[in-house]
Amino acid sequence: MFTFILKRLAIAIPTLLLLIVISFLLMHSAPGGPFTAERELPPQVLANLNAKYGLDQPLWRQITTYVWGIVAHFDFGPSFVYKDRTVNQIIAQGFPITLTYGLISFAVAVIFGVSLGVAAAIRHNSLLDYIAVGVSIGAQVLPNFVMAPILVLIFTLWLGVLPGGGWQGPEYWIMPVIALSTSFMASIARITRSSMLEVLTSNHIRTARAKGLPERRVILRHALKPALLPVISYLGPAFVAMITGSVVVDIYFSTGGIGKAFVDSALNRDYAVMMGVTILVGALTIFFTLVVDILYGWIDPKIRY
């Protein structure tokens, strides 16, 4: 197990470094520098600015400084647009919010998705099963940016029960969480259902039933664990897609998470903030993939890489 974790780390760390270097090169090759303004700056001022931000150094030096800043001090450097704020401050402002509703959505998607999938599989071909299949097919075409306006239309404009945007209390969390989790809940339900159906016909379940175990115990103890394996391997991509989806939530519900910082920086070409968010999200992705891999190896001892 220990060597397995080490092996995964050996892939994860270079991946992260590569991501940082690639996004740095992208930014470096972009047309127009950070101080390209309508008003031409005097050459002396420009030289001073370049010296202050280290832009007069050779490229490899800039890269190593940037990478070292992130790795050693967790420092993404200054923002290009807001002269008085660093990228760290901008990210620190939005990140807790994204994390809050992101984790809630993730938990909701997993708990409801798995429950729905298991229930549908146990009552195969019943009304409940058909409803579950229908919901999971329907929700496939309801990604976050479709759910968000529909929810606002129903709950804010027609029923008037939920606030349409902002971030002040738990009632502000409800719509972002529903918008973000619906399509993933549907996917998880579909995966759980089909793998559960497969597991329920396998020999060890027949043995467990033949032993006279109560059905509850058969399902929870013998069927659920193997049935969850495909679900766990789906969690990695789902996590990435959810972080991406948080951008829509931040914009549409004005929740003020890092997605807002990302789109704002994209619109006013604040490359430093864009890179900071991209690298942060990449790091989270890599970390989460690592956790999923370890979880997978722990649940299924047959897996050896």
Binding site: T15, V141, F145, L157, T244, V248, G282, I286, T289
Partner: protein, 303 residues
């Protein structure tokens, strides 16, 4: 002599061979969900191609009669020729939806083609050569999979101007990895077959074997995943356009239209969200159903 000919004719009449493709076709035609999906797709495509002729307004004209009173006068009506109503600027929503559907379908199909070509060639090469080359190529894919693509694509769009070409190519280029994994797996099982061995024995070069003997035998798998890729491409493009970072005015896509509609629902112009949303969902439904049907038909063991 005569007897044997007659005999073989008789056997032919009794057992007419069915090719795997004919089998697959039969399975596909019998699949009700897939047929419904195909019907929806044909309808949506017809709407995108011929809808322009049915429109009474162009997608750029402003209707000054409804301007300023969109919520009261801009709703769907046959009387003034705005079948789907108008948007908040007084442009005909029917014509805009036709245009948006065209762009979304184009992004989906072109993106899927790029992803398929790159993914197939990459995966087939890795699988065919195997060994260390395979190891390096597939580890690279593993590493690339961990990159948060939506963010990188937006980074690219912002840095190099939001041109539709970058959007098309970018969406295709970030989606080939899943495809390459599938193709590699299939290639591994194909490359041990006799006909590949025969080709190799007669001195056919490796690129030619891949193109002429491996890839055609993967056609079924490629077709299935290509169909399933199209809706994902449309989703990606719509996502970016929803954020206002994708296609730019006067061009539009379903995502951009949904975004506009979502921004104006507070003023009571629900149709502006409803119609683009309807076409968006129908398109995705169509592709998902046809893709699933193709998978069941061409790849019956993998469900």
């Amino acid at each position: 002599m005569v007897a044997t000919t007659e005999n073989s004719v008789a056997t032919k009449a009794v057992a007419k061979g069915r090719s795997p493709w004919a089998d697959a076709r039969r399975r596909f035609w019998r699949n009700k969900a897939a047929m419904m999906g195909l019907f929806i797709l044909i309808a949506v495509a017809a709407f995108a191609i011929f809808g322009g002729w049915a429109a009474q307004w162009s997608n750029e004209e402003l209707d000054y009669n409804v301007m300023g009173q969109i919520a009261e006068l801009g709703g769907p009506s046959f009387a003034n020729g705005h079948y789907f109503g108008t948007d908040d600027l007084g442009r005909d929503l029917f014509a805009r939806t036709v245009q948006g559907t065209q762009i979304s379908l184009a992004v989906g199909v072109i993106g899927a083609i790029i992803a398929c070509v790159v993914g197939t060639l990459y995966g087939a090469t890795a699988g065919y050569f195997g060994g260390r080359i395979d190891g390096i190529m597939m580890r690279t894919v593993d590493i690339l999979m961990a990159v948060p693509y939506m963010f990188v694509l937006i980074l690219l769009l912002v840095m190099y101007g939001r041109s539709i070409t970058i959007l098309f190519v970018g969406i295709g280029l970030i989606s080939w990895m899943e495809m390459s994994r599938i193709v590699r797996g299939q290639t591994l099982s194909l490359k041990g077959r006799e006909y590949v061995e025969a080709a190799r024995a007669t001195g056919v070069s490796a690129p030619l074997i891949i193109l002429r003997h491996i890839v055609p035998n993967l056609a079924g798998v490629i077709a299935v995943y290509a169909t399933l890729l199209v809706p994902l491409m449309i989703l990606t493009e719509s996502f970016i356009s929803f954020l206002g970072l994708g296609v730019q005015e006067p061009m539009t896509s379903l995502g951009a239209l949904i975004s506009e509609g979502a921004g104006t629902i507070a003023y009571g112009t629900t149709w502006q969200l409803g119609f683009p949303l309807l076409f968006f969902c129908l398109t995705l439904f169509g592709f998902f159903f046809v893709g699933d049907g193709l998978r069941d038909a061409l790849d019956p063991k993998d469900r």
